[in-house]
């Protein structure tokens, strides 16, 4: 669906069901350069099982208007604005990669609004390789190729997509290249590079938090994800084996099963 936030048009997938203000809200926040489409194997389940779902395209990304936001802090405030714009006063957040930085920052800034956090492939900081950052800021397609390489584990590189016929690497590549690389991936990578408040924000949190990590993650390594979880009181951690950074697609069924159990328990439909 499309709606306005700060006078800019925003697109969010509602998971194939009409958006319903009477159902608990789950917001999905994508990673650097990506769009709502990376969440399709999680969002539709929750939309068909009693939740209102918004898988957002961040400003300047996918089908949303405006320009990409230049800092994690601005993205966190924007998520708060989204919750207001759709008429809710609380929501659960699910983030992937950069989306985890945004979710943690948002929950620390707006503790009364955010009910649960689910972090996939997260870390407290995501410092960028300088060469990769430069390539992305110059719209060099090699940045996307390198990102696809680093972001995928065995399932991505060999194949074996949960949806028959889909090929991970090229689908991811096309998602990132749906807009000018420097305007999305370049801005996002720079925002990740500049963000330094992750662990401080994490220490402030007091809400049910789930971390789903992968042992073959080369973008946000397992130990970095564990370190973030260690800074969050009572954080629940699950590690998916033989999987890379794109666990939400590479091991979509496992990811969904863990997420379902956590959300149904900690953020039940009332």
């Amino acid at each position: 669906m499309k709606f306005k936030v700060n006078n800019e048009e925003v697109f969010a997938s509602t998971g194939g069901r009409p958006f319903d203000k009477n159902k608990p809200l789950i917001i999905f926040i994508h990673g650097s350069g990506l769009t709502h489409m990376c969440w399709v194997l999680q969002t539709r389940y929750f939309a068909f099982h009693g939740y209102s779902v918004l898988a957002l395209d961040l400003p300047g990304h996918g089908l949303s208007g405006g320009k990409s936001l230049t800092s994690v802090e601005k993205m966190a405030d924007w998520i708060n604005d989204v919750i207001d714009a759709v008429g809710f006063n609380q929501a659960s957040l699910v983030g992937h990669s950069q989306g985890c930085l945004v979710a943690v920052e948002c929950a620390s800034r707006y503790p009364n609004k955010i009910q649960t956090l689910s972090l996939m492939g997260g870390a407290g900081a995501i410092p960028m390789n300088p060469e990769l950052l430069a390539l992305a800021e110059n719209s060099d397609p090699k940045a996307v190729d390198l990102m696809m390489d680093f972001a995928h584990g065995p399932s991505g590189h060999f194949g074996g997509h949960p949806v028959p016929g889909l090929y991970h690497l090229n689908t991811g590549s096309m998602l990132v290249q749906s807009k000018e690389i420097k305007d999305t991936l370049g801005v996002d990578f720079r925002a990740c590079e500049n963000y330094s408040n992750g662990f401080e924000a994490a220490k402030k949190l007091d809400l049910p938090t789930l971390s789903i990590l992968a042992d073959k993650d080369r973008m946000c390594r397992l130990k970095d994800g564990q370190k973030l979880a260690d800074h969050i009181k009572g954080s629940e951690v699950h590690v998916i084996k033989n999987c890379g950074h794109m666990m939400l697609l590479e091991e979509a069924d496992q990811t969904l099963a863990i997420l379902k159990k956590f959300i149904l328990d900690k953020y039940p439909i009332t």
Partner: protein, 436 residues
Amino acid sequence: MDPKTYKFDTLSLHAGYQPDKNNGSRQVPIYQTTSYLFDDVDHAAALFNLERGGHIYSRISNPTVGVLEERVAALEGGTAAIATSSGMAAIFLAIMTLCESGDHIVASSQVYGGTANLLRLTLPKFGINTTFVKPRDTEGFQKAIQKNTKCIFGELLGNPGNELMNMPEVADIAHNAGIPLMIDSTYQTPYLCKPFDFGADIVVHSLTKWMAGHGSSMAGIIVEGGKFNWMQNDKFPSLTKEYEGYHGLSFAEEFGPVAFTMKARAEGMRDFGPCLSPQNAWNVMQGIETLSVRMEKHCANAEKMVEYLLAHESVAWVSHPSAPDHPDYELAKKILPKGRGSMIAFGIKGGKEAGTAFINNVKLASHLANVGDTRTLVIHPASATHSQMDEATLKFAGLSQDMIRLSVGIEDIDDIKNDFEDGFRAAKKPKLVANK
């Protein structure tokens, strides 16, 4: 710093499959099953609602076929693929995913006879009409586009005349009109050309030919490039608007770079059912494992045969883009740098009668209606593959009565030449006529 993603020859062998998820089976297992157990009612509902990936019924998808689909998508540089029971099924499914009654297609006039019949005779019965344009007439493609045109379709190297479409320029024409370019790349395989690199949006193959390569199994495939923006205009409402069949789903919004494939499967396979058998998918994958090796030999043999035919006294003309005097020689070097394929069209002196004698007297070359076998194949198109065309249509499609279509195999080149010598000798013999 360079990406360490796998390259073509490795993908030919490995893409789409992980042994450790299949009981350690090194080869891709053949899932000879119609259907798949649901864990519970919720799991069944999730699969039917496209909430999660997986298999329901082998008409829609099958794990063995799925490996083939991913493998071809990987080799073509596509986002997704959907395999079909034949190449014609792939073309039909692709068109029916794009078009509705009242729509229009612009197509190259030099296409496989079956494709020509589908476009010229069968699709008009469903309200879908086609304007044909000669493959080298790039401006003609522009002129033929109407308000209701939904795609440009062509074979890169036309069957059987070997006229080359200027794919980058035709792609620009299509994109300026807000429509996709669909290329039948059967003759090239992704080893010789990846049409997505030259602007194509959808690629179809008859996998029966060089991809499978051994003349054993029928199969086809549609591959999606993932770049085309279906939402840029209102030409494709069945992809962009709410679809009643899946609770108001918009394929383009929900699936973006794989929207076309998702619709082709969710609607087309569901409703038309031109599915590929897992055994044939497996057979095709056996061929794909050696695609690079075979294509190199096919092309090398083809170039030697071009030289041989050009120098032969019984040959009136030869069409193959490796020949320096071929009108598309320079363009072919750019689009097909690894080789110009193994299809040769040539004219035999003495016309149809000599052609008939030639074909009836070669022994090693097989006379049959196929191309892209490991074995050398010959046919007289005007009396076989394109026989449903009248004289004017034949001429517009670039065919002539003296034309022989040759699909060069990977036998020893000397044996192919010797066999052809027998054919040419027989073609020159005077025909016996009974005394009156």
